[in-house]
């Protein structure tokens, strides 16, 4: 019984903190992927400008309202265009960007594979 009580105490101390920590992580992750539009080369997370601070508040609000990470990105993209996202979304303008590394990897792999087989023969 004592053990059970101890377990509950520990559980309730740790669990809410855990949730808070995860929320903070998600907020940081999102703000790190948002570009501070008025201070080039900095993410919203890094910047302390008025614009970035407002954006951080909005991200917090949206998370509280139950928005998912993707929905938050979509929200900001609608307002400011795709430039605000550090990770560009997968669409017809960015197919090439996303697929090129994969293509290079496959070609490289094929060359190595071919050489490997040649050596063994």
């Amino acid at each position: 019984m004592k053990l059970l009580r101890l377990f509950f105490v520990i559980f309730f101390i740790i669990f809410p903190n855990q949730i808070k920590a995860e929320e903070g992580d998600l907020k940081n992750k999102i703000t790190k992927n948002l570009r501070c539009l008025i201070c080039q080369g900095q993410s919203v997370y890094d910047s302390d400008s008025e614009f970035a601070n407002s954006l951080k508040i909005v991200v917090n609000k949206k998370l509280d309202e139950g928005f998912s990470e993707k929905e938050i990105y979509k929200y900001f993209e609608d307002k400011y265009g795709e430039w605000i996202l550090y990770d560009p979304l997968f669409n017809k303008n960015t197919y090439f960007l996303w697929l090129l590394p994969l293509l290079i990897f496959l070609i490289g792999g094929a060359i190595i594979f071919k050489k490997f087989i040649k050596k063994h023969q």
């Binding site: 400011y80 265009g81 430039w83």
Partner: protein, 172 residues
């Protein structure tokens, strides 16, 4: 045969890379915000600066009327410069000027208006800058020309005489 193919491949790759680099030479890497116009006005509620009345953004803008929403602040120097032009714009009958006070204090905002005049029919208060984000604004000053509940034009930075001329032409 194989050598020829390899040479061909190398040339193709070279041309391909050259074209990409050449094209990117012409692209400026300075970001100019894409002005998203003809967007519906955002829906949000805000407190008015001088009363505790809360207004909804979609209720205060009537259709078939021109509105200029100006984001301003008492601490913003360019706002001071464009203020006379806003005062001038209020003489036009076809346009109503609304203000969105950005990250300011009520006392400072009041002093600013006492000194330079109040061109705004309504002033919404945006203490933490969240409402401006709803409008897709970057900072102060910024103005939006609204008609039929749509943003027709967006002006980033202070208004100047030419822009005011353009606005006057548009609303006629």
């Amino acid at each position: 045969m194989k050598n020829k193919f390899n040479l061909f491949l190398i040339i193709v790759i070279f041309i391909f890379i050259f074209v990409i680099f050449y094209k990117s030479l012409q692209d400026t890497n300075i970001y100019t915000p894409s002005v998203k116009i003809n967007n519906e006005i955002p829906s949000f509620s805000a407190k008015l600066l001088y009363s505790d009345e809360t207004v909804n953004s979609q209720e205060i803008f009537e259709s078939n009327k021109y509105y200029l929403l100006n984001i301003w602040s008492s601490w913003c120097v360019p706002c001071r410069e464009e203020h006379a032009l806003l005062m001038d714009l209020t003489k036009e009958k076809n346009i109503i000027v609304f203000g969105l006070n950005y990250k300011d204090t009520k006392i400072n905002a009041q002093e600013f208006l006492n000194e330079l005049g109040n061109p705004y029919e309504k002033i919404m208060f945006d203490k933490d800058g969240v409402k401006s984000i709803e409008w897709g604004a970057f900072g102060v000053p910024e103005s939006f020309l609204i008609y039929n509940n749509k943003v027709v034009e967006k002006y980033i930075g202070p208004l100047n005489k030419e822009l005011i001329k353009k606005i006057k032409l548009l609303i006629k």
